[in-house]
């Protein structure tokens, strides 16, 4: 609270100026969440003090009357158009809430099965692997450690975020693609949040809990091993980006090749966790399946096209030992195919459109509009 002296009490409108001052500073620190609170207008920053003193000096020029309420225009009520007015961080919280409200789950304890549900419809069935399966996979984790020297820089930089890796493949920059970068961060966050439920339910121990020789490259995270969070996030981002790109096929001259690179990058991010010694290959299998579903839901809710996704099932016994790019690719294509673990007659789940997610999606599409032909009535 600035010390405005004895005049403060008689200028009730200062209250709004005070919050205006902090809002002004907020505009210049748009990405700093800590400034989100309207908070105290007294701070160490010189600008607040300067703003306030100048506010005092000039306010008289605006007169002393009441604001004409006939001239007050309101924003649209509950509109995604308003999203551009909020900060990235606030938007993320809104999107997360929007997503989680539909995410539910059901448990079949006796069979160690979890059903993840979207708007009460099961979209992903997950069965826990046996202890024997995990033990059988320990040799993979040991052998992959051979590549730690090669891949440690990637592993360490992927501890908290995978966005840079996908940004590299698509040539994204903060000035050209702020919304796509926001999209990748969001999808990654959603997938990471969503996979915590299966992790908690499945409650599977980490590789280094079963084999003392692994001595992982990084501290083992504080949550269960199966499914892999990184695999889920990478698969979700990969799915969403592929969908985004396929709606803008003329933006890049090497459109198909970039899609291949995205898939390979997602795979490598997942396998990096096995190299690090904190995941079994089967964790990545399940994560890839689940992440793909999360990505599909997101795309269906946000995008302009598909409103349905197919349900999938991860049955551990239907997957072979190591986690391979080609197989993951196949699995993503054939989620209805029994041999890859899907249920025989996959249900199609309806995914309602979300205005909020759609807003973000449209802004992302606009970032890949080079070469796009506008047809009449087409929304960008």
């Amino acid at each position: 609270m600035p010390l405005l002296g004895p005049f403060h009490a008689s200028h009730a409108s200062h209250a709004s100026h005070a919050s205006h001052a902090s809002h002004a500073s907020h505009a210049s620190h748009a990405s700093h969440a800590s400034h989100a609170s309207g908070g105290s207008s007294f701070s160490a920053y010189g600008s607040e003090t300067g703003l306030q003193s100048s506010a005092q000096a000039i306010v008289h020029a605006a007169g002393f009357g009441e604001i004409n309420n006939m001239r007050v225009k309101a924003l649209k009520f509950s509109s995604s158009d308003n999203l551009s007015r909020w900060s990235v961080n606030i938007r993320r919280q809104i999107f997360v809430g929007e997503f989680l409200r539909n995410l539910d789950w059901e448990i079949e304890s006796a069979k160690s099965i979890l059903h993840m549900k979207w708007a009460s419809m099961p979209f992903f069935k997950l069965k826990r692997p046996t202890a024997r399966r995990f033990a059988q996979e320990l040799p993979y984790v040991r052998d992959y450690a051979d590549q730690r020297a090669d891949r440690s820089a990637e592993i360490l930089s992927q501890l908290d975020s995978i966005t840079d890796y996908f940004a590299m493949v698509l040539g994204l920059t903060g000035s050209r693609n702020p919304f796509t970068l926001e999209l990748i961060g969001l999808v990654s966050h959603l997938a990471g949040q969503a996979v915590m439920i299966p992790k908690h339910v499945m409650a599977c121990r980490r590789p280094d809990e079963l084999d003392g020789r692994l001595m992982p490259l990084i501290p083992t995270p504080g949550h269960s091993s199966f499914p892999s969070g990184h695999a889920t996030q990478a698969a979700a981002v990969s799915t969403v980006l592929q969908s985004l790109l396929s709606q803008c096929p003329d933006h890049f001259p090497d459109h198909q090749e970039r899609i291949s690179l995205i898939k390979m990058m997602a795979h490598r991010i997942a396998v990096n966790r096995t190299v690090a010694g904190v995941h079994f290959p089967i964790d990545s299998w399940a994560g890839a399946f689940f992440g793909t579903k999360v990505g599909e839901i997101f795309t269906a809710a946000a995008g302009t096209k598909v409103g349905h996704i197919s349900a999938a099932c991860f049955e551990p016994s239907k997957t072979k030992g190591d986690f391979f790019f080609d197989d993951m690719h196949e699995a993503q294509k054939a989620t209805t195919d029994q041999s890859s673990g899907g249920s025989p007659k996959s249900k199609m789940i309806k995914v309602d459109k979300s205005d909020e997610l759609g807003w973000l999606w449209r802004n992302c599409i606009a970032e890949f509009a080079v070469g796009a032909r506008r047809r009449r009535g087409q929304t960008s």
Partner: protein, 803 residues
């Protein structure tokens, strides 16, 4: 044990193999094998040498598989030079069987004494079979070979063969292929050459062949310029998993195989793989059985860089369009696990079979080329083998050197054939010492004169260590007493033996003693053996020094081991100087006793925990006046101002690759591009210092050098990694040899020499042809200077290889 046994009598195991085999099959296997992950393999590999100088036609043994109730012996496909080649070195895979159920004997249960069974098998079964085949052939009117006489066949029959066995690395069971061997030549898709070779008579065919480890045959650098097809005509991946576990093979497995282990990929196979997996080289090598799998030794193509990728890129990567049809690639990818034990135990059989494979496939390529073009040319072959070891006699007589040399000499009779090898990277590793006459000091007039070596064993070494002491012919072992003293003070003493039998066939272990640490615990073995051509050697094998070894095995104490050599005689001075001959055959005084420590590093993915032992010599000056590594020996007689009074036994000169000393090998050193000086590690030939400015050059040295370091601050040279698009910098003379091979291949391509020219120049390894390409003669420099011929050879390759 004496060498009184006459050839032909029941063999004693000690005459059948050498001290490495003895160590490996007795104590060594408990120490070293678990780390190598091979102790359960039932597939042993050997090279056998027929000692009486008899040569056996290769055509009689090509792809042979024989068994009796105890033993199965299986040969790979052998090159026969259209029936003309008679060889004395036989590579083979061997399995032992026991019990009524024919249970396979695993490597860890194989013992030195079992070599007797092997010898008997050859004596009884093998030669009978060969003789039978010879008879069948001549009965049917085919001459077995132009020069095989009835007499030499009778020799085979009468079982007078005396064999010497070399034991090599076992074969990983997941890579073994027990289908019968049947040679098969696929359609390589050769087309008639388009211009600029319009005249068939001008067409030349060159083949660059590589034997290495971790070869990514699908890499874009080894495809045609339009990226449509591979330039690799044949690749034998010796370490690839085989049909039972291999996806690709399951779809195409036939009833026979061309190779007894690993998988062969010919150009049509590789092109098909490229079509199928065009987006994904990971999946390609996975399907080819070349990526790491649990339960099997790790494979180099799972990593981002490998030795073989870099070397093949230097040899034949990104070949220019104009000659891409005329310059073909044959590759053999050794099983990488065979390189994990750096002590020299590993690769002979694999390298020798690789050479046979290369020569055989070269003949197939040649035929296809001639058919397509209506020509009758012989393929000009350059083979690059970027391998080596530090031990051995260093005079071309080690078994593998002799075996490769024999093959090359045979092929050179009718076609240009060259072999390039690196000079080695151990110049500064303190692995070589020479004991000269003057090192035998006497404390008083009548005392025996004694020379001392200090051998430092590092702590925490998890593999065995070996030191070889080679006696020159003029100093027989009977005049020497050797004492090995451990850091804890216990001593092991051995006196040499007088030999009645001087014949070169008398090889084997003459004497052996256990080396004990305190309290009578066995930690090593001292052996006196006679190697090929009767060269005598003391070999000291010591157990690992690490604590917590498998099964509570005793560790050898780490620290300074003292080896004392004493000249025994009533009048020690009566033993004359050790004479030998220098390269230019003027008589040289005091050749000396060559001592080599075997290379012992943790190489590749083996994680063997090896640590290098080394000589300690307080006479040696490690740094020069400027503070850089001293790159000359500390011996008065060289740089007398600096080395006054010095008589170090430790040598840098003489560190030359022990596998590269045969006359037909082109030895390639490495140098720093920015300074034009030899790379500090680039090994060099032996020098002897008689007096100031009076130097003798002994044995094989560096012939020519290529860039292996870009500058002091940019180590290595850039080359391909294991996937298209990965580039890595690799250091070492391994990258120098293929650069020279590449230039030699290019020169061979354009050469208009006649067959006579080729034959005449073979003796100097086509040196005159090398001169025709961009070589710079090495400037005149002081002896042993880093930019002198002693380090760089006569020429340096100025054109640097750029990926």
């Amino acid at each position: 044990m004496s060498l009184q046994t006459t050839p032909g009598s029941a063999a004693e195991p000690d005459f059948l193999a050498g001290p490495f085999e003895k160590w490996m099959l007795e104590y060594g296997k408990y120490y070293d094998l678990p780390a190598l992950r091979m102790q359960d393999s039932p597939y042993r590999t050997h090279v056998a040498e027929a000692l009486n100088g008899s040569l056996v036609p290769a055509s009689l043994m090509d792809g042979l598989c024989l068994k009796d109730k105890n033993t199965i012996v299986r040969l790979p496909a052998l090159w026969t030079d259209s029936g003309r080649y008679q060889l004395s070195f036989i590579p083979f895979v061997c399995q032992g069987l026991q019990g009524r159920s024919n249970k396979q004997v695993s490597f860890k249960d194989y013992s030195f004494g079992d070599l007797v069974d092997l010898d008997e098998f050859f004596g009884k079964k093998f030669w009978m079979e060969i003789a039978e085949r010879a008879r069948t052939k001549s009965n049917s009117g085919n001459k077995v070979s132009p020069s095989t006489s009835a007499k030499s066949l009778d020799n085979l029959l009468s079982k007078k063969q005396q064999l010497f066995f070399r034991l090599n690395y076992p074969i990983d069971p997941s890579t073994y292929d027990d289908r019968p061997i049947a040679w098969h030549v696929p359609d390589l898709g050769f087309r008639k050459l388009a211009s600029p070779v319009p005249n068939a008579k001008d067409a030349s065919l060159v083949i660059t062949a590589i034997i290495d480890d971790g070869i990514p045959f699908a890499h874009t650098n080894f495809r045609t310029v339009d990226n449509a097809r591979t330039r690799v005509d044949f690749c034998w991946a010796q370490g690839a998993t085989t049909p039972v576990r291999n996806e690709l093979a399951e779809s195409r497995s036939g009833k026979t195989t061309t190779v007894p282990f690993g998988r062969e990929y010919a150009a049509p196979d590789i092109n098909e793989l490229l079509q199928q997996y065009k987006e994904d080289e990971d999946a390609l090598y996975g399907a080819a059985g070349l990526l790491s799998e649990p339960g099997a030794p790790l494979k180099p193509l799972s990593r981002m860089q490998s030795h073989g990728a870099h070397v093949l890129d230097a040899l034949s990567g990104n070949w220019p369009l104009a000659s891409e049809e005329q310059c073909r690639i044959i590759a053999v990818d050794l099983p990488s696990s065979a390189s994990w034990d750096a002590s020299g135990f590993g690769t002979d059989m694999f390298v020798l079979s690789a050479m046979h494979y290369i020569f055989k496939r070269a003949d197939d390529i040649e035929k296809a080329f001639n058919n397509a073009n209506g020509t009758n040319v012989r393929a000009r072959l350059v083979v690059n083998l970027s391998y080596g070891f530090t031990g051995g006699p260093h005079d071309g007589s080690s078994l593998i050197e002799a075996a490769l040399h024999e093959m090359i000499e045979q092929r050179r009779r009718s076609a240009p054939t060259a072999l390039t090898m690196p000079s080695g990277n151990t110049f500064l590793e303190n692995l070589h010492s020479v004991v000269m006459d003057k090192h035998f000091a006497a404390t008083d007039k009548n005392a025996d004169r004694e020379a001392t070596l200090r051998w430092k064993l590092a702590p925490d070494d998890r593999t065995s260590s070996f030191l070889e002491i080679w006696l020159p012919p003029e100093l027989p072992s009977s005049n020497i007493e050797i004492t090995v003293e451990s850091p804890t003070g216990s001593k092991c003493r051995m006196r040499g033996k007088k030999h009645n039998d001087k014949s070169p066939t008398c090889t084997g272990i003459c004497d052996q003693k256990d080396i004990l640490a305190s309290a009578g615990i066995k930690v090593g073995r001292l052996t006196l053996d006679r190697y090929r051509r009767g060269k005598e050697r003391f070999m000291i094998a010591l157990a690992p020094t690490a604590a917590c070894l498998p099964q509570g095995l005793p560790a050898a104490p780490s620290g300074n081991w003292i080896v004392r050599l004493k000249k025994m005689s009533a009048n020690a001075n009566a033993i004359g100087p050790m004479n030998g001959r220098a390269k230019n055959s003027s008589r040289v005084k005091d050749v000396g006793i060559d001592c080599y420590i075997q290379h012992d590093i943790s190489y590749g993915q083996g994680n063997t925990g090896a640590r290098q032992s080394y000589f300690v010599d307080d006479q040696d000056i490690p740094y020069n006046r400027q503070g850089g590594f001293n790159q000359v020996d500390s011996v008065e007689g060289l740089r007398p101002d600096r080395n006054r009074g010095r008589k170090a036994k430790l040598r840098r000169f003489g560190s030359i690759n022990g596998m590269a000393t045969a006359p037909s090998t082109i030895v390639v050193g490495g140098y720093v591009e920015a300074t034009a000086k030899a790379s500090v590690y680039s090994s060099a030939r032996a020098l002897r210092y008689r007096g100031p400015y009076s130097i003798d050059r002994l044995g094989k040295g560096v012939d020519i050098s290529a860039v292996t370091e870009r500058s002091q601050w940019h180590p290595g040279i850039i080359g391909a990694g294991t996937r298209s698009g990965i580039t890595v910098a690799l250091r070492g003379t391994s990258s120098a040899a293929p650069q020279v091979a590449r230039q030699l291949a290019k020169a061979m391509l354009d050469s208009t020499w006649t067959a006579l020219d080729w034959r005449q120049n073979a003796d100097v390894n086509y040196r005159d042809l090398l001169k025709s390409i961009e070589m710079t003669e090495v400037a005149d420099r002081p002896t042993a200077h880093p930019a002198s011929e002693d380090r760089l050879g006569a020429y340096v390759l100025r054109e640097t290889f750029q990926t």
